[in-house]
Symmetry: C2
Subunit: 131 residues, 2 copies
Amino acid sequence: MTTNQVDGLSRADGVAREIFDRVGDKWTLLVISTLADGPLRFAQLKERVGVNQRMLTQTLRGLERDGVVSRTVYPTAPPRVDYELTPIGRELLALVTGICEWTRRNVEAIETSRHDYDARAAAPPRPVTGG
Amino acid sequence: MTTNQVDGLSRADGVAREIFDRVGDKWTLLVISTLADGPLRFAQLKERVGVNQRMLTQTLRGLERDGVVSRTVYPTAPPRVDYELTPIGRELLALVTGICEWTRRNVEAIETSRHDYDARAAAPPRPVTGG
C-alpha cells in the first residue's frame, strides 16, 4: 500500500473497520465459512455451525444488511428460507479464509512471540519511543 | 473452506479472532499499511500516521507482541529505534490490504444494501427463521 492508498483509506476506512469488526466475530466467521459450499437453509446452518437461534438470526441479519449474504424465501408451506453468499460475499470469503489460514500457519510463532515479549516485559524497563 | 476446515478452526480460532480484532483497529491498519515500504523510526511513523505518542506506543506494542512488527534499537546517542514488518507481518499486510481494497471497491454496494435493508425493516414484519 502506498502513502496515497493510506490517504485514500479515510473515505472507506470507517466501513473497512466495521467489516473487520464483523468478520472478527466468531459466529460471522463460521457462518461465512459454512456457506462456502453453497446455499443452506436456516436449520441446516444452525446445526452445522452449532449456534443458537438468536445468535444465528442476529449474525445473518448483519451479513444480509451488508449485502454479503442473500436471503431467499420460497413460497412453500412452511416457507423455505435459503441463505447464500452473494458475489461480493464470495470475494470476502476468500480474503477471510486467507487470514484464518495465515493464523493457523502462524499460531505457534504468534504464541511464542507473545511469550517472549511478556518475558522481556518482566525484565527492567527499556526506552519505548526514541528514534 | 470445507467442514473439516471449519472444525479445525477451533484450535486457532481464538487467535484468529484476536488478529481480526487487532487489524480491525484503525491505528493498527494504518501502522501496518505505513510500514509497507520499509522500516521507519518512531517519529517518522508518528508523523506519517498522524497519531499521538500514547496510541502509537500501544499499537506498536501489540504488533510487536504478536511478532508482526520487529523493533530494532541502534546504540546511537540518542538511541535510534526502527520498526519494521516481520516476514509474517508482510504476509498479513497483503491479506489486510486485500480486505481494505475489497471494502473500497464495494463501499457503495455495502451502503446501498444497508439502506435498502433498513427501508425493508421499516416495512411490516416478515418471517425471519423458517426453512
